[in-house]
């Protein structure tokens, strides 16, 4: 039932800046399966959005480059090697994306309807009338009240929540295999957030699509996701089942993230926060990238790259602590 839709292998996306190369995504691997929601968690600048943009081939060239050893396998093709035209046929068609900013992600000078019909007309070669029928169907599916009327509205006439629904409808129109949702609820009110999440979940169940859900909010992950990848400074530091992440987090960074979540039953005065910031990746540290902020770090963490340790089939962590030999030798 859950088949592999996209397989990312050793994805490396580097950016050229004035000061040197910046490995925004550095060796990310993951498998996205149909009917499952993969959460991608991390602070700003951890490379999660860049991972998504790499899948769609929308890295701003020539500053950003996907290194040749990277592979993104989709329906037998390696997306990183496809031409612009071939990629364009996949975008919005087989892989669709929902963005963070519903307020600004719709073109202000065109009606909702026109923008909804665009992917259909582009990828499915539908006539205007056919496209309209389908587009209306999806508008109803994302539970937009009065869909027929909204069809002729301009984006500024809709609220943020409605606009995000339109964005979702737009992502759905071509029935994609994978939907990438890049913090789709961040800009919305809490109540509307919940509605949108519910909608996404519903769609995933009904259409059996794979969803890559990018967020910095672990609460949302708990609610929505099946699997989780935790990213830190361009690397996936921990990857496991969502339930498991909350029960037995292993990477110190994940533990820190979980600790910093406010809990209702807790009576602490101050919220925990991980000290420091995501490091400047232009001067990549020789050892573990999290070491400077880690409260468990030992010498070895600064000296050598941490190993990727498979705790079991579902749980992977990038940390010296779990390499028992090396850790106890310190």
């Amino acid at each position: 039932m859950n088949e592999t839709v996209v397989e990312i292998q050793n994805l490396k996306t580097y950016f050229e800046t004035e000061k040197g190369f910046n490995p925004a995504v550095d060796g990310v691997s993951m498998i996205l399966e149909s009917g499952k929601i993969m959460g991608l968690v991390g602070e700003s600048g951890s490379g999660k959005s860049m991972t998504a943009m790499s899948i769609l081939g929308l890295i701003p060239k020539p500053f950003g480059q996907i290194l040749p050893e990277s592979k993104i396998l989709f329906e037998g093709d390696d997306l990183t090697k496809l031409s612009e035209k071939e990629l364009a046929k996949i975008r919005g068609n087989k892989i669709a994306m929902i963005f963070q900013e519903p307020m600004t992600s719709l073109n202000p000078v065109y009606t909702i309807g026109k923008q909804l019909m665009e992917p259909l007309r582009l990828h499915k070669n539908l006539s205007k009338r056919e496209a309209k029928v389908l587009a209306l169907k999806y508008l109803e599916q994302v539970r937009i009240p009065d869909a027929a009327k909204r069809f002729a509205s301009y984006p500024h006439q809709l609220s943020g929540g409605l606009r995000q629904r339109v964005m979702i409808a737009m992502a759905l129109t071509c029935e994609p295999k994978l939907i990438i949702a890049d913090e789709p609820t961040t800009a919305l009110d809490v109540t509307i957030q919940a509605q949108i999440l519910e909608l996404l979940k519903d769609i995933q169940v009904r259409l059996n699509t794979a969803i890559l859900f990018i967020t910095h909010d672990l609460g949302v992950v708990a609610e929505l996701c099946d699997d989780v990848c935790v990213m830190y400074a361009g690397e996936v530091v921990e990857k496991c089942d969502a339930d498991r992440l909350f029960e037995t987090p292993m990477h110190p960074y994940t533990i820190g993230l979980l600790k910093s979540l406010p809990k209702i039953d807790d009576d602490v005065e101050e919220l925990y926060s991980i000290e420091g910031m995501v490091p400047n990746l232009i001067h990549v540290p020789t050892g573990c990238r999290f070491a400077p902020r880690c409260d468990k770090s030992k010498r070895i963490c600064f000296d050598a790259l941490p190993p990727r340790i498979l705790i079991d089939k579902q749980h992977e962590v990038l940390c010296w602590q779990y390499d028992e030999g090396a850790w106890s030798n310190e």
Binding site: F15, T17, N22, A24, E43, S44, G45, G47, S49, M50, M53, P60, F63, G64, E101, M103, T104, E183, T186, H216, M277, V278, N280, L281
Partner: protein, 353 residues
């Protein structure tokens, strides 16, 4: 004119032109620009995140990028300004050219090869040679010397009326923005009216009333162009007057004009500087145009515009008479435009690389 308006648009964006501000003209358009601007501020931060992937933007920390932009201080402005100019070779070239222009104007009496006013009917319309580097005009006067003297006129025209007009515009704009109400309404309507005229036509009318002379050009240019300045300053005043430090000053009983001078005026300086660099070449151009049309400086004043106008009758036989003063105008204007461009680039993230 167009340039000024374009700049006005940009400043309007910069200074978050207040929602209740502009009367009459293009109000809706300005509103629209503001909505764009809000979008942009956001995009800008997004761009930063996506391009370098490590901006300090922390999601949901309760501060939108707008707030961050509000914190742009004067220091920050100067810093980016100097950095911009330093990095931008064009602006540096412009600065050097303007410096040379000022130097030539100041040293004119000592560096002219001949008397710019000396009529010599035996040396009429001599082609450029070693004595008369760019020839003589129809009255046998050395054109190079006249151009050098003309630099003085252009320099003064570029500076004095521009400063006066900026001063008028700034004062009216601050008063209008700070006091609001009827005064505001009155001043802004007057500004609308002045801006509705094409500035050259308005200047021509003023010249008609006052009579054609160089001095009257000063007056005309001083009173013609204050409208857009006052609009810009007013918009900034409106946004600054809501800030805490102004509230604080008011609450401890600081006088209104003192607040205007001490707190509001310094915050308008950045835009005034940019406005100034754009207005100087405009003023020089206006003087030249008026003099060219015969309603400005009168013979034998060595005004560049007048020289072109008088020389154009000899365009066929002696083209240098009319063409060379134009080169001078062109060089000065382009120098200021280089600087203005540099300033704009320094302050506008989009034209940067």
């Amino acid at each position: 004119m167009i340039q000024r308006t374009q700049f006005f648009k940009e400043i309007a964006m910069d200074s978050k032109l207040n929602r209740r501000s502009p009367f009459g003209f293009g109000r809706k358009r300005l509103k629209y620009m503001m909505s764009i601007e809000a979008t942009e501020a956001k995009n800008e931060s997004d761009l930063a995140t996506s391009e370098s992937s490590k901006s300090s933007k922390i999601p949901n920390n309760g501060k939108s990028p707008r707030d961050a932009e509000d914190l742009v201080t004067e220091e920050h402005f100067w810093q980016s300004l100097f950095k911009g100019i330093y990095r931008d070779k064009k602006a540096l070239v412009g600065l050097v050219m303007v410096f040379l222009f000022i130097l030539i104007a100041l040293l004119a009496p000592w560096i002219v090869p001949h008397d710019p006013y000396a009529v010599d009917m035996e040396k009429v319309l001599i082609a450029p040679n070693s004595t008369y580097v760019i020839g003589t005009d129809f009255l046998g006067r050395d054109i190079l010397s006249r151009i050098i003297y003309g630099a003085r006129i252009s320099l003064v025209i570029g500076l004095v009326p521009t400063l006066i007009s900026l001063a008028i515009g700034t004062f009216l704009g601050m008063v209008s923005g700070y006091f609001g109400g009827k005064i505001d309404y009155l001043i802004m309507r007057l500004a609308d009216v002045c801006m509705a005229f094409p500035s050259l036509l308005l200047a021509m009318v003023v010249m008609y009333t006052l009579g054609a002379s160089l001095f009257n050009i000063f007056i005309a240019l001083s009173i013609v162009n204050w409208g857009s300045t006052s609009r810009i300053v007013r918009a900034q005043t409106l946004s600054i007057k809501e800030k805490e430090f102004v509230e604080a000053a008011r609450s401890i009983g600081v006088g209104k004009f003192k607040i205007l001078w001490r707190h509001i005026f310094p915050n308008c300086i950045p835009s005034l500087i940019v406005l100034f660099t754009l207005s100087v070449p405009e003023a020089i151009m206006s003087e030249a145009s008026l003099s060219f049309l015969g309603v400005g400086a009168q013979p034998p004043t060595p005004s560049w515009g007048l020289m072109i106008s008088r020389g154009k009758e000899f365009l066929f036989s002696s083209p240098w008479v009319a063409i060379t003063p134009g080169v001078a105008i062109f060089l000065v204007v382009i120098a200021f435009n280089f600087i203005g461009d540099g300033l704009r680039d320094a302050l506008d993230p989009y034209t940067k690389h």
